[in-house]
């Protein structure tokens, strides 16, 4: 059976799993943004925290993803529903690019601009919201882009622990030695990653300060 024919025949399943995949990536990226960006802002302003925070995030990144999923399985509330576990793990993996890029972006703002702003009487919050964040936005967004692309890939492994998503097609295809099934999962997943990369890359470019 031709591949496209296969997708057409099973489009209900493929669509359902794609949406599931997007859900996993969307929620975890959102959580990582909510935690990572404030953390990045924090360490940009308190350099003492810089090393421990970045080091921790780095350590988390180096844990092999399947191993992380495995560690978390026995944890009571998390292990009960695979999606929770998967979302937590994906969030943790998305943290490093977000924290690091937020930090770099804010530190990269021209110090003269910050000094002028402070000297003019902007409060720290105003400085952050009106000057630092808008100028760091392009770099921060690049961090989001990296986080999303990583998440799309990692979410395929989430199926190994029952969280669903396009990885389920890949794993089932492997067990059945059915290439079409494998591709039915792999190609949409790759497609999502590319889409995210291009889409967010375009926005990033538009936001880069001249």
């Amino acid at each position: 059976m031709n591949f496209f024919h296969f997708i057409a025949q099973n489009r209900g399943q493929v669509l359902e799993l794609t949406l599931e995949h997007l859900w996993l990536v969307g929620v975890s990226t959102l959580l990582a943004v909510l935690v990572g960006i404030p953390l990045g802002i924090l360490i940009a302003h308190w350099p003492l925290l810089n090393k421990p925070v970045l080091a921790t995030a780095n350590v988390i990144q180096t844990i092999p993803s399947l191993a992380l999923f495995g560690f978390l399985l026995p944890v009571p509330w998390l292990g009960d529903r695979a999606e929770r576990l998967a979302i937590l793990a994906l969030t943790l993996y998305a943290l490093l690019p977000l924290i690091r890029n937020t930090y770099t972006g804010i530190r990269g703002v021209d110090p003269a601009v910050v000094e002028a702003g402070r000297g003019m009487g902007l409060t720290d919050l105003q400085l952050l919201l009106k000057v630092e964040l808008p100028l760091a936005l392009s770099v921060i967004l690049s961090g989001v882009r990296v986080a999303v692309v990583i998440s799309v890939g990692l979410a395929t492994i989430a199926a190994a622990i029952g969280a669903g998503g396009l990885g389920e097609l890949i794993f089932r295809g492997l067990a059945m030695v059915n290439n079409q099934l494998i591709l039915a999962g792999a190609i949409p997943a790759a497609g999502l990653a590319l889409l995210a990369d291009f889409g967010l890359g375009w926005v990033e470019k538009r936001l880069r300060p001249q």
Binding site: Q13, E16, L19, E83, A159, F171, R172, V203
Partner: protein, 318 residues
Amino acid sequence: MMQPRNLARRFAQSVAGSTAAGVCRALVLAIAVCPLMISACSSSRSDRIVIGSKNFTESLILGEIMAQQIEAHTHLKVERRFYLAGTYICHQGMLSGRIDVYPEYTGTALTAILKEKPEGERRQVYERVKSEYESRFGLTLGPAFGFNDTFAMEIRGEDARHLNLKTLSQAAAYAPQWRAGFGYEFMERPDGYRGLAAVYGLHFAGQPRVMDLGLLARALRDHQIDIAAGNATDGLIPTLDLFVLEDDRHYFPPYEAVPVIRGETLKQHPEAALALAQLEGKISDQEMRQLNYAVDGQRRDVKDVVREFLQQNGLLQK
């Protein structure tokens, strides 16, 4: 009343001072809204039922039996999601509504999901699992298919006849003369070899040999080992003339095969439950072995084997 998107734009502009940043804020909002939108447009299951199975032959066969049974007796469209990698994954699939029905074993449900000790007799275990699944997960256990895929202590048919052995207690006397062969899991599990040896007072000649499950039957036949721990429904048991010793002290927990159905599915499609109920007790240990052999040993197509089975048992007539 201002549109949310315009509101977001205005807010962004006032805070960041540039339209481009406003676009970016809208994007962040989109990433945030995406999961909500997706959950809102959940797929409709009005006329479709998803049947899952684990990734070994027996589970596949049971899944296919249930699938064809439902197809024959209801108007429901059946989607097969077989080869799911294990108990946990199937269970998660049920909880999240990804699959509606799948075949499980009472013993496995008891230990792997409910995390209780693997003991009790058949009826007890079945009732326990049924009530816990109902109250904790909203999952219903259908009536058992009729066979018990528990651990089986196998010996060569000739030895059984020659020594007139029927039960494990009887065999214990000959244990010191026998070499045993087990799979890795059986060696490791507390309810495996260790418990068995204790209950029956077994002392084998030398250390039991540990090998891959698939090789045990042949090793037994070739006299490399004299007793093996396999599964009660191994397809090779009849073909290699192996004999399963009766577990007269009821050491091994029961592993009755049952269909597990989601509560919602039951409500929406009671006809599916009725169709599955017809399978109660229809598959004996011996019949399951034959089905396993047909697929594994004879390499026949699962669909054909199952169709034949259902026809022979008069299950395909409405």
